[in-house]
């Protein structure tokens, strides 16, 4: 019979988990075999350092100045900043992965209480938590220098705030983990999240509009009083009470904080206990059969296409199935589909800032003949990104392309056709939005823009196809972490767009130089024809290159 090991102490378990996190960090660095990635990581580390050290001064100064100057009502602001940073950044850092690593620790012989405490310790060992602890300590130091008698109460508040923040952060993480364990909810959540982030861009225009119509912002600050019962404001109340020797405020504030800690700890205990009992988070094993309903009609577009009733028969034999497959992928990539809303929304945002009759940033609205092509160029800039990593979502399916009896040029033709159609649709939509927001451009400018778009898209496609073959990177649906094209591919895209954009700007300027408004349209028509010829000529060499690069592709996409 094998010898069984005896139980180890909780402190030793925490030490081991901390060691595990450290090894994961070190091993993660070891994977960075690319010099560019290393340089990038160096920059990120530098930024992270600046992000921690810079606010340290600010929090020290806030603690010192607010206490010494007696501006006690403002003490809530730094506490709120810490609270928001601590809670929001881990949501970004989680990256909408399917699960956090922490759950995997469950296979070890922990008691439920040990699992809970290790969970808290795990939460303290991440970047936002460490940064916030530093800021909190520096704020305590600042307040203590200003008034040494507040030190004991500041320390109590700091401990309670740390405990509360880590508990709330773990609780949110645990709920997110449960929610995001399902693929569909993960993708929808990510789409909503991106749109939410984008919609924040509209806050400034709305706020400026609000200020313009309501010069007295007092009602806006009226909401501050509603924040009083929440932990950051309660912390400020305790410190303020300590400065003023108001023991009622101290008692109320501390009771509130302890109450919050107790409530959130109970909720977290409930979640962790469920995990400890072996809560099943994965996808349902057998999705139910779809019932014919209104929802089914929504899904009918790819189905009609895949059954071939509306199959684009004018396409070559191998290109048709590729187009259908790409279309299915587009429709089923909830995330990408959601993001098709972004370009027209961006047009609205930019036109409110730079164009039209009441621009916010530019003093005088830009001329439609200038603004329209510029915005179309921006749309192309955004929309062409995925074409530079066109196999990103194929995953292991890439092997099918190499084991099937077909030419890679057909694959590129199918993929590029869907990309061009999507770009065309989005450009048309953006055009309509712009025409509504700032007015239509002149007819020569419109034609020049259309030909310029054909030129830039067909001019970029061969380069994008080459980059897709040479620097592929696997991307996953509904995941945020690591979802970016290869660094080299991004540089190639920027290079291509700068060159093509530069040529376009030169051609556009010929109208002003020559006085002939139709000259750019003629120039772009010629360039578009040349770029299209170049595109078709590139398909065969790219097909040959694909055969040479198949190992790179398969290795990168089948991981």
């Amino acid at each position: 019979m094998a010898d069984l090991a005896g139980p180890i102490s909780l402190a030793e378990q925490i030490r081991l988990v901390a060691g595990l996190r450290w090894r994961m960090l070190v091993n993660g660095l070891r994977k960075k075999n690319n010099v560019l990635d290393l340089i990038g990581m160096g920059f990120v580390s530098l930024l992270a350092l600046i992000l921690i050290i810079g606010p340290c001064f600010a929090f020290y100064f806030a603690g010192y100045s607010l206490v010494s100057a007696g501006r006690l009502p403002w003490l809530a602001a730094p506490f709120w900043a810490i609270f928001i940073f601590w809670q929001v950044i881990p949501i970004f850092a989680a990256g909408f992965g399917s699960s956090f690593e922490f759950r995997t620790l469950l296979r070890f012989p922990f008691s439920a209480s040990a699992f809970y405490l290790i969970g808290l310790a795990y939460g303290l060992a991440n970047f936002p938590a460490l940064a916030c602890i530093c800021w909190l300590l520096l704020m305590t130091a600042g307040a203590t220098v200003a008034k040494p008698s507040v030190l004991p109460i500041m320390l109590v508040v700091a401990i309670l705030i740390i405990l509360l923040n880590v508990t709330v952060e773990r609780l949110i993480g645990s709920w997110l983990e449960k929610l995001l364990a399902r693929r569909r909810s993960r993708e929808i959540f990510l789409g909503i999240f991106i749109l939410l982030m984008f919609s924040m861009q509209f806050i400034t225009p709305i706020q400026r509009q609000y200020v313009k119509t309501n010069p007295n912002p007092a009602p806006f600050f009226g909401i501050v009083k509603y924040l009083a019962p929440f932990p950051p404001s309660l912390s400020a109340r305790v410190v303020s009470g300590a400065v003023r020797h108001d023991f009622v405020d101290i008692a109320i504030g501390l009771s509130g904080l302890v109450g919050f800690v107790f409530i959130f700890s109970a909720l977290l205990w409930q979640r962790y206990a469920a995990q400890y009992r072996g809560e099943e988070l994965s996808e349902s094993p057998a999705p139910s059969r779809a019932v014919p309903s209104r929802a089914a009609r929504w899904r009918s577009i790819p189905q009609i296409i895949s059954t071939g009733r509306t199959a684009p028969g004018f396409l070559p034999a191998m290109v048709g199935p590729m187009v259908r497959k790409e279309f299915s992928y587009l429709v089923r990539n909830g995330f990408a589909f959601f993001l098709l809303v972004l370009p027209p929304a961006q047009m609205l945002l930019f036109s409110s800032q730079f164009g039209g009759k009441h621009p916010i940033i530019a003093g005088r609205g830009l001329n439609a003949d200038l603004f329209f092509p510029a915005m179309m160029a921006y749309t192309i800039l955004v929309m062409m990104g995925p074409a530079y990593n066109t196999f990103a979502y194929e995953g292991r399916g890439i092997q099918t392309y190499f084991s099937a009896p077909l030419r890679f040029s057909d694959i590129f033709a199918g993929k590029n056709l869907v990309s061009a159609a999507t770009i065309g649709f989005e450009v048309a939509l953006c055009g309509v939005v712009l025409a509504w927001a700032i007015g239509p451009p002149s007819v020569p400018a419109l034609f020049a823009t259309i030909f310029a778009l054909i030129f830039t898209v067909s001019g970029q496609l061969p380069i994008a196809n080459w980059a897709s073959l040479t620097f592929p990177r696997k991307l996953e649906f509904g995941t945020m972490r690591g979802q970016r094209n290869s660094g080299v591919s991004v540089w190639i895209m920027f290079g291509a767009q700068i060159v093509l954009g530069g040529i376009s700007a030169l051609v556009l300027s010929t109208a002003r130089w020559s006085g002939n408004p139709w000259l750019p349209a003629e120039g772009f028509a010629f360039l578009a024809a040349a770029a299209l010829s170049g595109y078709f000529a590139s398909l065969q060499p790219l097909s040959e290159l694909a055969e040479k690069k198949k190992e790179v592709l398969i290795e990168a996409l089948c991981r």
Binding site: A2, A290, P321, F402, L406, I554
Partner: protein, 265 residues
């Protein structure tokens, strides 16, 4: 028509200094159910990738049905079906979408593709989830779909990399019967598996690769003849495999030292 379905000559693949497959001379006769065995890291998947066009050899030659793969890759691919390592599925298609896509890619017309896709989904017991995307399939369902895709165009040579891994006993039985019927009709099946019982039950001929080198090749009877066993008892494929490859580091007949892992036993 040639009798040889697969032939390799001095087939070699290097990854830097590592020789994954070393000058392999392999021959598989048409209509054989051929098992390709080897320990982990022996070079099985590398070989199958080279035989199916997923990996270019460093040197040497591959011929399938008498056609040189290097000079006529499309012609060879038309004749073969593949279940590669990792299955090669497109996650965001439904099973029906995928089979229709593959069928069309192999040049079948729309009507034939649709009919065969429906029949295969029915046979593989995947027809009751027409709207489910592959990403939501279980591992076993994905495996069955990959097999369906490999045969939709009626290949003459079928390459299967661990085809039964994760497939339930019921479906595995039906698949084995289907594959058996295919070989009766002259289809050559080249199969890798770690499950010796499956290979022993299905395959008439076997090759064993170890450390990139082909160390044995022949019919099961030929291989059995070369291995000493208890009188009257039939030598199993596992015994043949262990005898040739060895239990430790590829040294035939080597027993594990008695004091190893004594704390566990």
């Amino acid at each position: 028509m040639t009798d040889v379905a697969i032939r390799t000559e001095k087939l070699t693949r290097r990854f830097g200094n590592l020789v994954a497959v070393d000058a392999m001379d392999l021959q598989v006769t048409a209509g054989q159910f051929f098992g390709f065995l080897g320990p982990n890291g022996a070079g099985k998947s590398t070989t199958i990738k080279m035989l199916t066009g997923l990996l270019a050899p460093s040197s040497g030659r591959v011929e399938v049905l008498g056609i040189d793969f290097a000079t006529h890759p499309v012609e060879v691919k038309r004749q073969i079906g593949v279940v590669p390592e990792g299955m090669g599925l497109f996650d965001r298609l439904t099973g029906t979408d995928y089979l229709r896509f593959v069928g069309r890619m192999y040049g079948l017309d729309q009507q034939t593709t649709d009919r065969r896709a429906d029949e295969l989904l029915e046979f593989m017991q995947l027809a009751d989830r027409p709207k489910t995307m592959i990403v939501d399939y279980s591992h076993g369902m994905q495996k069955k779909l990959a097999l369906a895709a490999a045969v939709i165009h009626g290949p003459r040579v079928l390459f299967l990399d661990e085809p039964f891994e994760g497939v339930d006993a019921l479906a595995a039985g039906a698949l084995k019967s289907l594959l058996g019927r295919m070989t009766e009709r002259g289809v050559t099946i080249f199969l890798t598996s770690h499950v010796m019982e499956i290979v022993e039950r299905l395959c008439s001929h076997v090759a064993i690769i170890n450390k990139g080198r082909l160390v044995a090749q022949g019919s099961l009877e030929e291989l059995r003849a070369g291995v000493p066993g208890d009188e009257g008892a039939k030598v199993t494929l596992e015994q043949i495999f262990l005898s040739i490859v060895g239990q430790h580091g590829g040294q035939p007949g080597m027993e594990p030292p008695v004091d190893e892992l004594s704390w566990l036993t």
